[in-house]
């Protein structure tokens, strides 16, 4: 055994503990403690500034009948169901396009990925401007091409608002999912394709019988990340639609934010957070279960 220099006379295990201790403390204080606090607070009538009163499960009972809560939950689900396939398809197609090696592909990959790093709130502001009826590009283009006669109000109805947000998020996150897809495609052994080429299998059939089936785990991962991310959406609705029109585009996190900081009902917001956490836990478990596919 080597003779180790022992700072503070600690054993090697002791040093190990010392090294991870600060991180554990930080995570404990700012992650785990708030988590427990959320549950604890959900059992109280807790105003933002002031004293709290223990009320047991009253918040949860109220939640069951809260129309706005269920509406925002429904909306968030609707949003997730629209944006996820859009992202999935776009990123898969792009990955197919740019998976070949070469400088052009590398350039394309960079270009498609760039929106990912610019920040969701910045992107939201950017697209609020693009979608604006007076100064926005799209409205102007449609008018110039004589598709419409007057400026287009993209945020007038719930549907157009939702679709505008979906369009922005697709622009922003496709590059990210594309990289996930590329990683999955790389994992497929080249000999499968070579053998298929020799056998005269067409590219479409190769896609259908080799690529897609072998990417099941990648698909599951991309879906999981996408679904969870969509459920937690806030920035885009806060900035682009302000929850409107008529509170029709209030996502669940946005609603929790409002409950806690606009209506200052922190206890109630905590109850909603707990429900949200449970839903996410359920979905993650479900998707993890689907990930446990048999290996062929």
């Amino acid at each position: 055994m080597t003779m180790l220099n022992r700072p503070l006379g600690l054993s090697r295990a002791g040093i190990g503990y010392l090294l991870i201790l600060p991180s554990l403390c930080l995570i404990g204080v700012f992650f785990l403690v708030p988590l427990c606090m959320t549950v604890w607070m959900s059992l109280h009538d807790w105003p933002l500034f002031g004293t709290s009163t223990l009320v047991g499960l009253k918040n949860y009972a109220e939640l069951l009948h809260d129309e706005s809560f269920w509406r925002s939950l429904l909306f968030t689900t609707k949003y997730t169901l629209i944006v996820t396939p859009a992202l999935f398809l776009a990123s898969f197609v792009l990955a197919l396009l740019v998976r070949r090696p070469g400088r052009w592909s590398a350039f394309f990959r960079t270009a498609y990925f760039l929106p990912v790093v610019i920040g969701l709130s910045t992107a939201s502001l950017l697209w609020v401007w693009l979608f604006n009826d007076q100064v926005g590009l799209f409205s102007a283009l449609l008018m110039q091409l004589h598709v419409v006669d007057e400026p287009v109000q993209w945020f007038d109805t719930g549907t157009t608002s939702l679709l505008s947000v979906v369009w922005m998020v697709t622009w922003k996150m496709t590059g990210f999912n594309m990289v996930l897809m590329l990683v999955g495609m790389q994992a497929i052994p080249k000999d499968l394709y070579e053998a298929a080429n020799i056998d005269g299998v067409s590219p479409w059939q190769q896609l259908r019988y080799i690529t897609v089936p072998l990417m099941r785990q990648t698909f599951a991962l991309a879906l999981t990340i996408s679904v969870i991310g969509s459920y937690l959406a806030f920035d885009q609705f806060y900035i682009m639609t302000h929850g409107g029109p008529n509170n029709g585009t209030v996502s669940i996190v946005y609603w929790i934010y409002r409950a806690a900081f606009t209506y200052t009902r922190v206890g109630y917001a905590s109850a909603m957070s707990v429900v949200l956490l449970l839903i996410l836990l359920l979905m993650s478990t479900l998707q993890l279960y689907l990930l446990r596919s048999d290996d062929r």
């Binding site: 220099n5 700072p7 090697r12 002791g14 040093i15 190990g16 090294l19 991870i20 600060p22 991180s23 554990l24 930080l26 700012f30 708030p34 959320t38 607070m41 396009l97 998976r99 400088r103 590398a106 394309f108 990959r109 960079t110 270009a111 990925f113 790093v117 610019i118 920040g119 969701l120 709130s121 910045t122 502001l125 950017l126 697209w127 609020v128 401007w129 693009l130 007076q134 100064v135 926005g136 409205s139 102007a140 110039q144 622009w171 990289v179 996930l180 790389q186 080249k190 080429n197 991962l221 806060y238 929790i256 934010y257 806690a260 917001a269 905590s270 957070s273 956490l277 996410l280 993650s284």
Partner: protein, 293 residues
């Protein structure tokens, strides 16, 4: 250094003999899509250099009639002045990067190269916190910070961001240290360097790529984040850029100063784009490593 990233290996089977038509189609499609993705950003930057009136023109003009720095000047004087907000964002981001490195490098080292009871369990706990969405613990965080007298402080914000980044960063650093062959450390110890000296001089240079990745992710989070900053900082003088921009949106009662917004947006985008283009390789490899978990 080329400004593009390559996924580590070839992801496509050996292509059949390339027809010029096929390649032309591929390039056309690729370029059109690239234009589509890049256009909003470029258009915003272009607009930021138009005069203020032209930037708010309806319908919008394509090409600026003349270039002007008006919007940046207005931004410089907006609210407490752009300099103040840039300073805030930079402070928070730098503190976060330093914090993340300070905590995750030793932790990664510890989890990787040392053996102690409960290591696996502790690591699992650290990883599992990645699953906790910060959006769901926001309200207790607010109250907690208030009790610690850290509300409305950039340091408090950086502390939160650092904590959020820790699970992923520790995971990355542990992987980095894992890939260092144990013989390297043993040889150094045999040569008589202390445990800490070992870490500093022998191992750190090897894990620098992992550190760059971790620092990048930390920076992007801290620079771009809105919700936590919105909740935890109410003093307008302490606003970070995202909070400033979204408040600018709601502040203008009549018409929004679009030129000013684009200037703000362009400035927000600049460091992220620059860092990404320069250090793509590290960012993408971090992404891939996280995905393959």
């Amino acid at each position: 250094m080329s400004a593009t990233f390559e996924t580590p290996e070839q992801a496509e089977p050996a292509p059949p003999p390339r027809l010029p038509l096929r390649r032309a189609l591929y390039l056309t499609a690729g370029v059109l899509l690239a234009a589509g993705f890049l256009f909003p950003i470029l258009w915003s930057v272009l607009t930021s250099f138009k005069t203020a009136t032209e930037a708010s023109a309806s319908p919008p003009t394509w090409w600026p009639s003349r270039l002007s720095l008006e919007n940046y000047v207005s931004l410089a004087h907006f609210g407490a002045g752009l300099g103040r907000y840039l300073w805030n964002s930079t402070c928070v981001s730098v503190m976060t990067v330093i914090g993340v490195l300070l905590f995750s490098v030793p932790a990664g080292y510890g989890f990787s190269k040392f053996r102690f009871a409960g290591k696996k369990l502790l690591f699992a706990v650290v990883l599992s916190t990645m699953m906790i969405p910060f959006q769901s613990i926001l309200t207790p965080l607010f109250i907690l910070l208030r009790r610690l007298h850290l509300e409305d402080s950039l340091f408090g914000l950086a502390l939160i961001y650092t904590t959020f980044q820790l699970p992923f960063s520790i995971f990355m650093m542990r992987n980095s240290f894992d890939s260092v062959p144990p013989e390297l450390e043993e040889a150094a110890l045999l040569d008589g360097c202390s445990q800490l000296g070992c870490l500093w001089r022998i191992l750190m240079p090897v894990v620098v790529p992992g550190m760059v990745t971790v620092a990048l992710f930390a920076f992007f989070t801290a620079w771009n984040e809105l919700l936590v900053a919105l909740v935890l900082v109410s003093d307008p003088n302490k606003f970070t850029l995202p909070v400033l921009l979204q408040s600018a949106q709601s502040q203008f009662l009549g018409g929004i100063d679009w030129g000013l917004m684009q200037a703000g947006i362009s400035i927000s985008i600049l460091p992220c784009a620059a860092l990404f283009l320069a250090l793509q390789r590290f960012y993408i490899s971090g992404l891939i490593a996280g995905a393959v978990k």
